[in-house]
Subunit: 460 residues, 2 copies
C-alpha cells in the first residue's frame, strides 16, 4: 500500500482482459424480485421477453446462479480495441486536497463512445449478429449509449435506429453526428414515428423527453420491424453483467499492488456502471470477505434511490415493459429541464436497488452546480475533462477524501470515472458563465411521479 510503488496509471496487459463476466446475483443470498408480466402479474419467462430481446441476452438476464459467465472470443477481440482501461492513481487530486486518503479511479472514457457503455454495446450487438438479426433499436439519453451502440453496429454490420431524448439531442447536436458517422439513424424523442411518441407529444407538447419515453418508442419500433430487436444500455441484469468487466479489471489492477479499497463510489443513473464496478467487490462482501463501503451517487434532480420508492414499476413511460421491482420515482417522472447530462432515468437497476434496500450500500444525491465544481477541479489537476455523470462520483470522492483529512484517516477510495465530457460543453458553458442552476424536486413534483404508478399492483 506504499504510494511509491504504485504508478500513476496501472495498465493490465491484453492477456489480462477478463475472459468471464462476474454475475453478482449468484452471490446474493436473496435475489431481487422477479420481473412480472404486466398482463398476468406472473414472473416473466424467457418467452415473455423474446418479442423484444435477443435470446442469449434473455438467458443472461434470467441467470441468477452462475457466478461466472464466459465472454465469447469475438467479444474479447473487440474489447482489445479499448480495454484494458486504465486504473489511475489520483496523485494530483490527493495533493490538491492535501488528504491522507489514497484516491484511485477506473477510467472508462478512453474510447470514442466516451464511456463505459461500449462494454455492453459490443456484447449485445455480437449476440444479435449471432442470432441473425439485421436491425436493432435503442434509446439514448446523454448520447453515450447511442454512440457506443452505433460503433458496435458499424463494426458488426447491423442497422441501428436510435431514439435520442430530445433535450439531449438539442444540447448535443454533435453527438448525433458521431452516431451518423457510424451509420446510425438518429431520431429525437418523443417523435411522430411511433404511436407512443405521438401520444406523449399530444399530452406534453413541449416536453424535452425522457429516457423512459425514448425506451417506449424504441421498443415499439423494434416490435414492428422485421428481424429487429430492442437493446437497452442500462438497468437490466445482463447489462450489469457485461459491465462487471469494469470491476474485474479494477480488482485485478489493484491487487497487483496489494491495494484494497475501503470505499467504492460510482454515479448511478440506471445503475449499470455502478453495478458493474462494484460487482466482484460486492460478491466478496456478500461472502464476508471484505467490509467495503459502496456509495451510489445520483443527481439531486433525479433522486430515485434517495427519494424514490422500492416498488414494482414499468421501465418506460409508455408502460410497455415488464414490471421490475426497483427504486423508482414513477415511470411518469420527468427530470426538470435544467438538468444537464445523463442520470435522468426514473428507476434504478433491480440488482443495485436490492443491494441498497438490503443495506449493502449507501446512496447520496448531489446538486449539479456542486458536481460541475468538482468536475472543473478534477479537470485542472488530473487532466481529464469528465462527463457530468462521472463528476457526480468525483464530487463524493472529494467529500470522502476531505473527511479523511479531517479525521486523519488513510483510507483508500476508488471511484468510477465513467466517461469524458467532450460532448457536454453546453452544460460546461452554463457553469463557466455562472448561469447553471440547481433544481431539487419538491415533494409535490415527486407525488406527481408516484401518481403515475398508483395503478400498478404491488405484491409486497
Amino acid at each position: 500500500m506504499s504510494d511509491k510503488t504504485v504508478p500513476t496509471k496501472i495498465y493490465l496487459t491484453e492477456n489480462e482482459i477478463p475472459r468471464q463476466w462476474y454475475n453478482v446475483r449468484a452471490a446474493m443470498k436473496e435475489k431481487h424480485d422477479p420481473f412480472l408480466n404486466p398482463a398476468t402479474l406472473k414472473p416473466c419467462t424467457a418467452d415473455d421477453l423474446r418479442g423484444v430481446f435477443c435470446d442469449e441476452l434473455i438467458e443472461q438476464e434470467l441467470n441468477q446462479t452462475d457466478e461466472y459467465i464466459d465472454i465469447p472470443e469475438g467479444i474479447v477481440e473487440f474489447y482489445k480495441m479499448f480495454r484494458p482501461s486504465p486504473m489511475v492513481r489520483a496523485y494530483w487530486l490527493e495533493k490538491l486536497l492535501d488528504t491522507p486518503a489514497h484516491i484511485y479511479y477506473k477510467f472508462e472514457g478512453n474510447n470514442t463512445s466516451g464511456s463505459h457503455k461500449l462494454n455492453s454495446a459490443v456484447a449485445q450487438v455480437y449476440y444479435a449478429k449471432q442470432q441473425g438479426l439485421t436491425h436493432l433499436t435503442t434509446e439514448t439519453g446523454a448520447g453515450q449509449w447511442g454512440t457506443a451502440l452505433s460503433m458496435a453496429c458499424a463494426f458488426y454490420g447491423l442497422d441501428l435506429t436510435v431514439y435520442m431524448v430530445k433535450v439531449s439531442s438539442e444540447q448535443k447536436p454533435h453527438r448525433k453526428e458521431v452516431m451518423r458517422t457510424y451509420g446510425a439513424n438518429v431520431v429525437a424523442s418523443p417523435s411522430d414515428t411511433t404511436e407512443v411518441g405521438r401520444k406523449i407529444l399530444a399530452e406534453f407538447p413541449t416536453t424535452g423527453g425522457s429516457l423512459g419515453c425514448a425506451i417506449s418508442e424504441a421498443i415499439e419500433k423494434a416490435v414492428k420491424t422485421e428481424n429487429c430487436k430492442y437493446v437497452l444500455g442500462s438497468v437490466l441484469d445482463h447489462v450489469v453483467l457485461h459491465q462487471s468487466i469494469i470491476g474485474l479489471e479494477s480488482k485485478a489492477a489493484l491487487e497487483k499492488y496489494g491495494v484494497t479499497p475501503d470505499i467504492i463510489i460510482g454515479c448511478a443513473g440506471g445503475g449499470s456502471n455502478l453495478g458493474g464496478l462494484i460487482s466482484p467487490f460486492m460478491g466478496d462482501k456478500l461472502k464476508g470477505k471484505n467490509d467495503i463501503r459502496f456509495i451510489a451517487v445520483e443527481p439531486a434532480s433525479c433522486p430515485s434511490m434517495t427519494r424514490g420508492k422500492y416498488v414494482y414499476d414499468f421501465g418506460d413511460t409508455g408502460k410497455t415493459t415488464p414490471l421490475m421491482r426497483m427504486y423508482t420515482l414513477g415511470c411518469g417522472f420527468m427530470p426538470s429541464a435544467n438538468h444537464a447530462g445523463g442520470l435522468r432515468y426514473h428507476g434504478m437497476s433491480p440488482i443495485v436497488s436490492k443491494l441498497y434496500h438490503d443495506g449493502y450500500m449507501e446512496a447520496v444525491s448531489v446538486e449539479q452546480t456542486k458536481v460541475f465544481e468538482a468536475a472543473e477541479k478534477f479537470a485542472r489537476c488530473e487532466g481529464i475533462l469528465p462527463a457530468p455523470e462521472s463528476a457526480h462520483a468525483i464530487s463524493v470522492a472529494i467529500d470522502e477524501a476531505l473527511k479523511c483529512k479531517e479525521r486523519n484517516e488513510k483510507k483508500t477510495i476508488l471511484f468510477g470515472l465513467t466517461g469524458t465530457g467532450y460532448f457536454d460543453m453546453t452544460a460546461y458553458k452554463a457553469y463557466n458563465d455562472g448561469t447553471m442552476t440547481d433544481y431539487i424536486p419538491t415533494d409535490e413534483d415527486l407525488q406527481r411521479g408516484f401518481a403515475s404508478i398508483l395503478d400498478i399492483p404491488q405484491n409486497k
Copy 2:
C-alpha cells in the same frame, strides 16, 4: 514480425517513458539555414529571441549539436498523466483492406487536449514557470494547441490568453469552452485587441483568420504584457524536439516486438507531429542504419511542401517573427474558407523542410473529401473517430496498404494518429450531409501568397 505475437495495443510502462528528447538536428550533416533577424538579416542570437520566448526554449531552439536533451523530472511527472501513449496494430483496418501490409499507428489522442500538442505544451509551460513568468499568450487553429496549453497552464498556475483563428472558433465553439474550463481567456482572431489584428481586419474585414495572423496578435500581446512570453505549438525546432517523444516511444514499442517500419506517414501542418514522429527513425536513416520511406501528408488546400517555395519567410502574417527558411506559400496566404480543421499554416517546420528539400522524405497532398472518407472508414473498423488532421495520414496509409495489396508486398506501415475528431463534428456533419467541398488553390491563388513575400531578401 509474426502477427500472432503482436497485441492490438502495445503499451510501454511508466518507467519506459523516455527521459530524454531526441534532437534530430544533431544527426543532420547539413543543418537548416539559420533564423535571420529581419532588421539586420543576420542570424538570430539568443538575445534576438528573448523578447518573445522563454530562455530555456531559446537554448533548445539554437541547440543543433546535442543529440539527446534531458527531460526534467517535473515534465516527466506530467507526462505520466497521459503517456506512454498506445501503439496500435490496425488489425481491423488490415482485414478491411485485405492487405498483406502490417499497419501500425501511434495514437496521441487519448488525453483531453485530444492530440499530441500536450507533449510540447507541458514542456513550454514548465520552463515558463521555472523562469518565474506569470502569463503566456499563444495562437490556436483547430483548437488542439490552445486546449493543450490551457491544460498545462491550469496545472502549473499561469494565466493564458489564446488567440483562436476566427473560422475555427466559429466551427468549434465547444473547444473554446474546454479552454475556458481550464481557465484560459480565448479571443477570436483577428480581433480588435491588437494593432496587427485591427490592421488585418481593416484590410480583410470578412476574413476567417489564419494561424499566421493569430500568431502576430499573440506575439504583440506578449510583448506588451508584463512578465509574459509567447509560446508556439508547432514549426519551431524546440517544438519538434519535444514531439520527438512520439517517435521515441514508437521506436521502443515496435522494437519490443522486433518490428521495423518500412514506411512512416504523418500529417503535416506546421510539422511538429510529423517531425516528432520521424525524429529518431530519421536520425538512424541519416546514419545509414535504415532505409525507411517518410511521407508527409498535407491538405490540397494548403500545400506548403508540394506547391510551396523553399525560401526565407516570416512565421506570421504580420511579419513580426524572425525569418525562417522553409517551404512556404507566403505569409500572406489564406486557406480557402471551406477548409476544415487544422493544417492551415502557410509554412512548414524548418527541420522538416530541410529534410524534404534534401530528399530524405516525400510529400503528398490530399483533398478533404477523400480525407473524410478515410476517416469514416477508419472510425468504423478501428473504433476511433480521428481528427481531420490525423485522417490525412490515414488516407495515405490506406493508399500505401492498397499498393502493397496490388504488388503483394508485406510492408510495415506506421502512421501518426495525432488526435481525435470530437470537436470537428461540424466538418463531419458536412461530410455526412454530402455538402463538403474540395478546393485546390489555383496558380493565381498561390501567386497571391508568394507576392506577399517578394520583398523578403533571399540569400540563396
